[in-house]
């Protein structure tokens, strides 16, 4: 049976963290599961908890009045869901829903923010890891803005 710290370490986001740091952040974490169609959080909710997906898939959705809910992203095993806990006003900007049975590790955002303030070296390391994730996501989101399939093909 793997410990929480071991599970966290196996994710690419936290790869290479020292055992001490892993133990520190594991202190803010717990195992959690979601059934198909269960909601992790909704747009506007307080962003206290974020998730590291271990198994299954989570869809990120925005609601539009005319077209209903639109899935704008999905999170796969190893992905982190949610960054709004990092900066005020700490509110979610979209819905997150399990589209398969999901096993995840939940993190208490306030707890992690507290530990990062105490140990700014840990805080800097966490910030770098999340920045890398965000930059990668931004790159891929920008590619989608190109609407690559929107143009005509031959003829």
């Amino acid at each position: 049976m793997e410990t929480l710290a071991e599970l966290i370490a196996s994710s690419p986001v936290f790869a290479g963290m020292t055992d001490e740091d892993l133990a520190l952040i594991a202190g803010c974490a717990w195992n959690i599961g979601f059934k198909v169609d269960e909601v992790l959080f909704r747009e506007g909710d307080d962003a206290d908890t974020f998730y590291l997906v271990r198994r299954g898939r989570v869809s990120l959705e925005l609601h539009t009045p005319d077209r209903g809910g639109i899935v704008i992203d999905t999170a796969e095993p190893g992905d982190v869901v949610g960054w709004s806990w990092l900066f005020p006003p700490y509110h979610w900007h979209y819905d997150a829903r399990a589209v398969e049975n999901v096993r995840a590790i939940a993190f208490d955002g306030a707890c992690l923010r507290g530990k990062s303030t105490e140990d700014t070296r840990l805080g800097y390391d966490l910030m770098q890891r999340f920045a890398a994730v965000m930059i990668d996501r931004l790159k891929h989101t920008r590619f989608r803005l190109l609407d690559v399939y929107g143009g005509t093909f031959v003829g």
Binding site: S59, I70, D73, T74, R97, H140, R144, Y149, G150, V154
Partner: protein
């Protein structure tokens, strides 16, 4: 002094469209149809990767890649997106309508060269149509290839082509088939994102895999970059280029891309040969 007579040149197929009758017409997406065509005169079977110049008589002519199965006898198959007067006329051609076909022209997906290697096929949007003959060939000759991985991207789930056939491919145990869409309505349980996001997780050995990529040029550029980041050498990545074509036989000049004529030297090219050209804006 005697007057010379004209030189004999072959007209049929190269200049004169061969008449074909529409056997069936299937709607794939809101703007895309697949036509199956039977020839009314002698013709040449296209190979995977080649294209035909399709005529809607009186309207015009466009280049369309072949998207059928030509390892055996069968109708000529073309998947066409209705984006202009000619393609709209072709997409509206019901059973029994006669259309014109010149071709096949261009070169092939290098299936023989890919034999013995892992084969990674990356299709974006209507790019799945020119790749379907290659995918079908690889599945029909499965033992000729190592791992077979097919990655399909589309704008939304409603823009996916050949959904039933993709499901049949996915149900096979000897191939990895992944689908991803740019956005979807709530209720979609598949992945969302650009098709490039499927590349890091594809189960192939980048050191030796051969990749076939087809889709809009910007999508192919991003995919090639992602493949190279994964360690696939660009001389093992093949893309299908598209340029404006009026003749298909190297006489009208329109399909030039720097030193190559897409109709004559392609449309399938090696990525390392194309990258210096596609990297020049407005070339």
């Amino acid at each position: 002094m005697a007057v010379r007579s004209s030189a004999e040149t072959s007209l049929q197929g190269a200049v004169l469209p061969v008449p074909y009758r529409v056997r069936s017409r299937v709607q794939e997406t809101s703007d895309t149809w697949t036509l199956e065509l039977d020839p009314l005169a002698e013709t040449v079977e296209p190979r995977a990767g080649q294209f035909d110049m399709l005529s809607a008589f009186g309207v015009g002519e466009v280049p369309i890649s072949t998207s059928g199965d030509h390892d055996g006898p069968g109708p000529l198959t073309h998947t066409i997106r209705a984006v202009g007067p000619v393609t709209r006329a072709l997409c509206a051609a019901g059973e029994g309508t006669v259309v014109g076909v010149r071709g096949p022209f261009g070169n092939e997906w290098p299936l023989a060269e890919a034999a013995g290697h892992d084969l990674l096929v990356v299709a974006g949007g209507i790019g799945l149509a020119p790749l379907r003959p290659a995918i079908r060939h690889a599945l029909a000759h499965r033992e000729d290839y190592g791992a077979l991985c097919v990655l399909v991207g589309a704008r939304t789930p409603r823009d996916l082509l050949y959904v039933h056939e993709i499901e049949r491919w996915r149900s096979r145990l000897d191939a990895e088939v992944d689908v991803i869409v740019d956005a979807a309505a709530s209720g979609w349980h598949g992945r969302v994102g650009l098709v490039t996001m499927l590349i890091p997780g594809a189960m192939i050995d980048p050191e030796s895999a051969v990749a076939f990529v087809c889709g809009p040029e910007i999508m192919m550029t991003l995919v090639v970059r992602e493949l190279m980041d994964r360690g696939v050498s660009p001389d093992r990545i093949w893309i299908s280029m598209e340029r404006n074509m009026r003749c298909g036989v190297g006489h009208c000049g329109h399909c030039q891309l720097g030193p190559v004529l897409v109709c004559r030297d392609g449309a399938v090219f090696r990525a390392d040969e194309m990258t210096p050209l596609t990297g020049v804006r407005e070339l």
